[in-house]
Symmetry: C2
DNA sequence: CGAGCAATTGAGACAAGTCAAAGCTGGTGG
DNA sequence: CCACCAGCTTTGACTTGTCTCAATTGCTCG
């Protein structure tokens, strides 16, 4: 039950009705930096990431940015109650995704309640992650935020897969900062501190080796 | 379409199948301070608030608390993917709520896909609110956070009802602080500043009169 | 090899936190 | 009926974690 396909929207119907899904889906590639959802625009499409990583974010008028999440393979974007998107999305690295017409998807949902069920499950998952992120943003220190981020990254691919001690961060320091509610400089300094404390190694800006996962998890949980 | 019943879980089935829902629901009253969901405990029940206000929160081991939301009449609690709750809930004032067995609700959902649809809509709404709160916690100043809080409170009861210029805050300063990622003292000082700037009046600690909603909204949106 | 961007490091500033002391207020019992 | 207590809120003085501004280093790719 673990792995990318288990968390995919398509999963619930792919098995039974692959054909009808394929008929309304368009596969698209987006290069790094390419924006494919703009906050406030008409929410006509659903998206399902199949490769790469996208960042989801909201902006304030003066340019302050909060990244609300990173969406990897299997992630699903575009749930919206109102008829406009509540956030923007941009490719971090090379991203491949399926695009569905929202109108047509509605028809599919009526025919296949199982897919509705799956969507609810996904939304619930997102909600739990969002609450965890609120705890991080509202109450954790810079050190705890970065440790949390690295620990979560080490568990990508589901709670069942073994944790990776080598983590790849496709995003920039600026993205990490905007995700953790910090500045670039604080992210950089905190990375350096974690390295000085022998908790991680930094072979390059986009690679982190977690040398002491147990202590990183302690810090992430708020036990300095 | 606006009002409490429109955002209630029950709504989708009440009209058609009120009987079966009532059969599995238990109505309960909780006094202020009473905890009725504990993070980490077995998620056996769903809850639907029908009166009063509850606070939902997560704790760190050292006692730091993040309130992830306030749930008023019509709100729905207990969505969980895993079999344990991801947050705790406690009554702010006198709360009345319906409790459903999760196991039995599952049966209802299978029979009434419309209810599943309604739940997805609710979860999506929550998700949008959660993203907005992440922006607040990660990127807004104390003044912007409090202004945002007051503006949202003035719109309780849905986007369709006229905004109230008199807002009642059933929760304490400590609750507001833990919701906005601030301290009690900062909340208090910021309230005082808003009053000094003639944006609000404070007849009592639990009542606020919004004297200049337009400017409060400007501040809330990040335009200091 | 150098231009351009990302990341790191440093020094000083400031928003919000901490610690401490009054004020207020609502409920209770003498 | 009112004084007192306990808890909440406000205000004040000081500290600090993180931000801002600025300079330097390192990497990637024409």
């Amino acid at each position: 039950m673990c792995g990318v396909r288990a968390t995919s929207v398509c999963n619930a119907i792919e098995d039974a009705h692959l054909g009808r899904l394929a008929a309304v889906a368009v596969t698209i590639e987006a290069d790094p930096g390419k924006a494919f959802i703009e906050e406030g625009e008409s929410a006509d499409n659903f998206f399902n990431i199949t490769a790469g990583t996208a960042k989801l974010f909201k902006l304030l008028p003066d340019g302050r940015r909060q990244i609300t999440g990173f969406a990897g393979a299997g992630h699903f974007l575009g749930l919206a109650v109102s008829d406009t998107y509540a956030f923007s999305a941009e490719a971090v690295d090379k991203v491949r995704y399926c695009r569905f017409s929202r109108r047509r998807l509605r028809g599919l949902l009526d025919d296949f309640p199982a897919m509705e069920k799956r969507l609810l499950e996904l939304a619930t998952n997102e909600l739990v992650a969002a609450q965890e992120q609120m705890l991080l943003l509202g109450r954790k220190t810079a050190l705890e935020r970065l440790a949390s981020f690295l620990v979560v990254r080490s568990r990508l691919g589901g709670p069942c897969t073994p944790r990776r001690t080598r983590v790849t961060l496709p995003m920039t320091r600026s993205d990490i900062a905007d995700y953790l509610g910090l500045t670039i400089e604080t992210v950089s300094r905190t990375m350096t501190k974690l390295r000085a404390d022998k908790l991680i190694e930094l072979p390059g800006p986009h690679d982190v080796v977690l040398r002491d996962l147990a202590n990183l998890e302690r810090i992430a949980g708020g036990l300095m």
